[in-house]
């Protein structure tokens, strides 16, 4: 039915099967959209956020998707600037994942604000000293970059590519992609960093506050580094999932191993920096404000030292080591474990930097505050996931996302034909 749109030579499931999948995920999407409209029309009272929890679940989701979406900029940086040519086999997919992550992030921000129609004030009336302003500017610009990076892939659709102008446009954009990728890397560096800065500059919140370099707290650099480190993990994870669902090998082992190796070294170096930062914070920064480390991890029903240990050791050191070690990296099982742990680790880090901050009492007579999100928050947080699945499904079906697909599945196809 839609054969004309499917890339030449590629095997895809039947259109009805495809639509059934889309409808099922679409239902979840609609649920999220319904919750989104509730938040827009009835206001943020639809959430369980409160004056202690001004940032809550979906801001965590926002930071988490941006972190894991960091795979796009980092892979792009490696491919186009450092000319790691092997990564051409996964760059398209990394860009799509990044596109999904960043469009979701922008959507979440649009739901999150109390006055969506005034959202543009952040640009127009920008306070350049606010980390959030930097986030907004760089995020939107980088989203434009991702769109630019995504366009050639879309234009390579079999039908679109027949249009000479589109064909040329895609070709020319490929030609100058390095410029876009460089700009994207520049923008990414700042918005990933300023997301870290959002928490790090809050000198009224000892749990969040970090000293730093010039105007940038250490969390600024840690966030950028961690996004670059864990982003590829997420790209690999989504690739793996896509391979499982499609039942096809889509990216060659060589590429996967290379990206995993790079990620492993990034994680390892990041986690060393993170450990140093944590130690300095715990032994120097925090005591200067009159706090002990234990203050942040006791006297409450949820946040214990477990969260620190899980984030740093289990989901930081462990995946780092697993990925720098050749044997564990090339073993699919241990590699998958490592990338899953890595993704959890970076999400946990964002959780801590968004939610634990709000829960920790600062005034000596204040108490811990914990919060449970409402269904509307959960639905709007799941919304991007559903949207992402649909977009990946559509892109995979109609666009030549994986250059190696045909080659890697030749024998299988041949076998099937026999």
């Amino acid at each position: 039915m839609d054969d004309a749109l499917i890339p030449e030579g590629a095997k895809r499931c039947g259109f009805p099967t495809f639509m059934i999948g889309i409808v099922i995920v679409g239902a979840v999407l609609l649920w999220g959209v319904y919750a989104m409209f509730l938040c827009w029309f009835k206001g943020l009272n639809q959430t369980n956020m409160n004056d202690y929890y001004g940032f809550a679940l979906w801001i965590w989701a926002d930071l988490a998707v941006i972190a894991v979406g960091g795979g796009a900029f980092f892979t792009g940086l490696l491919k186009y600037i450092f000319k790691v040519d092997e990564l051409k086999n996964i760059i398209n997919f990394a860009v799509i994942i990044g596109f999904i992550c960043y469009s979701s992030a922008l959507l979440i921000l649009a739901i999150d604000i109390g006055q969506p129609l005034r959202g543009w004030f952040i640009f127009w009336h920008a306070n350049v000293h606010s980390m959030l302003t930097e986030v907004a500017f760089c995020l939107s610009c980088y989203f434009a970059v991702l769109t630019i990076e995504f366009i050639p892939n879309i234009l390579e659709n079999r039908q679109a590519n027949k249009v000479p102008f589109f064909h040329h446009l895609a070709h020319n954009m490929h030609g100058v992609m390095a410029v876009f990728a460089a700009t994207g890397a520049f923008l990414s560096f700042f918005h990933q960093g300023s997301l870290g800065g959002v928490a790090g500059v809050m000198f009224g919140r000892p749990f969040a506050y970090r000293e730093g370099l010039l105007i940038w707290p250490w969390t600024f650099f840690l966030f950028t580094w961690s996004a670059a480190a864990f982003g590829p993990c997420f790209t690999l994870l989504v690739t793996k999932i896509t391979e499982i669902i499609t039942g096809k090998k889509l990216v060659g082992d060589k590429t996967v191993h290379l990206l995993a190796k790079i990620s492993g070294w990034m994680i390892t170096t990041y986690i060393i920096a993170k450990i140093i930062d944590t130690i300095y914070w715990a032994w120097v920064t925090v005591p200067s404000m009159g706090f002990k480390l234990s203050h942040f991890y006791s006297n409450n029903g949820f946040y214990g030292y477990w969260i620190l240990i899980t984030e740093v050791i289990l989901c930081g050191v462990v995946p780092g080591l697993l990925l720098i070690n050749k044997s564990t990296r090339e073993n699919p099982a241990t590699r998958t474990i490592a990338i899953i742990l890595g993704v959890i680790g970076v999400c946990l880090n964002r959780w801590v930097m968004v939610l634990q901050i709000m829960a920790v009492p600062v005034m000596s007579f204040d108490t811990w505050a914990l919060y449970i999100p409402s269904w509307q928050e959960v639905a709007t947080t799941i919304l991007p996931v559903a949207y992402g699945i649909i977009l990946i499904a559509v892109a995979y079906r109609y666009l030549p996302v994986f250059p190696q697909e045909l080659e890697l599945n030749k024998s299988a196809d041949a076998a099937a034909q026999n």
Partner: protein, 285 residues
């Protein structure tokens, strides 16, 4: 002409030994500033009270128990070094809140605010409140609203303004009479309401004002912590979370040591040094 005079630095000192926790300041503030209310206000985490009275105890058992009530308006932080870098002002992405260098008052402009709530996260005093709901008054009750303070709409942050409109009105009066504002002409609603007379408000920069005389703010940075300026040279006076460098303009006063200690966080043994330190910088004065 008005701008060129020496800048004011309006501030407050609250005598916690006089405060009875009666709540008159909270209500006076709500009535003065058109603060809305809703049916269930027992969840204090979404209940808008620009002035909030915290209750703390010394943790001992009856009859040794002691209570202290801490009225907490917006602290109008001057920020590290008192350069106007308050925790909230510095983070607002849309410049909906600023630091008035002429008064030391931290503003909040509801029509500019787009409700990102970053300022609330940055404020350790929970002095900022979000309008989760549209404000709604029972039929007819909107008749008592004051035109001097703009009612807020859903989706924006609000907070204590030190009753800035009272300053504006006092200033207009002074302008037509071609003179300066007197100390008692500009007083916040909570100050005037307090039946115990626990709140004193005025210009911390003006030695003739009572608040200055009680607080005796140290013009020099605290030698123990250079982030801290304007520390009180009165040993009974302290500020909340002074060590974070927020440099608040709301001072508290108590004879009770455990109350003064509760104003900030101290590591084991630190308090003993700090409590005797008040006089240390008095050599400047």
């Amino acid at each position: 002409m008005i701008e060129n005079k020496k800048a004011h630095k309006f501030g407050m000192v609250i005598d916690l030994d006089k405060c009875t926790g009666c709540g008159a300041c909270m209500v006076s503030c709500m009535a003065e500033n058109n603060v809305p209310f809703k049916e269930d206000e027992s969840n204090k985490k979404d209940s808008i009270t620009w002035m909030r009275v915290y209750r703390l105890t010394n943790g001992k058992s009856f009859p040794e128990t002691q209570i202290a009530y801490i009225p907490r308006p917006c602290q109008h932080c001057g920020g590290i070094g008192d350069h106007g870098h308050s925790p909230c002002v510095s983070v607002c992405p849309a410049t909906a809140t600023d630091y008035g260098y002429d008064t030391g008052i931290v503003s909040q402009i509801y029509t500019r605010c787009f409700g990102c709530r970053y300022c609330m996260g940055a404020c350790p005093y929970h002095a900022r409140y979000f309008n989760w709901w549209d404000p709604k008054w029972p039929e007819g009750m909107e008749n008592y609203l004051s035109p001097n303070v703009s009612p807020r709409m859903r989706g924006v942050v609000e907070k204590c303004s030190f009753c800035y409109h009272r300053y504006q009105l006092a200033r207009e009066q002074a302008i037509v009479e071609d003179r300066e504002i007197e100390e008692m002409e500009y007083q916040t609603a909570c100050t005037t309401a307090c039946p115990a007379g626990a709140i004193v408000f005025g210009d911390l920069n003006n030695p003739a004002h009572k608040v200055h005389q009680i607080v005796k703010p140290d013009p020099h940075p605290d030698p123990l912590n250079h982030k801290v300026v304007g520390k009180s040279r009165n040993p009974k006076v302290f500020r909340l979370l002074e060590r974070l460098g927020t440099n608040t303009k709301v001072y508290y006063m108590s004879d009770r040591e455990w109350v003064r200690k509760a104003g900030d966080n101290y590591l084991k043994g630190e308090w003993e040094n700090v409590k005797t330190h008040h006089g240390a910088s008095s050599s400047h004065g």
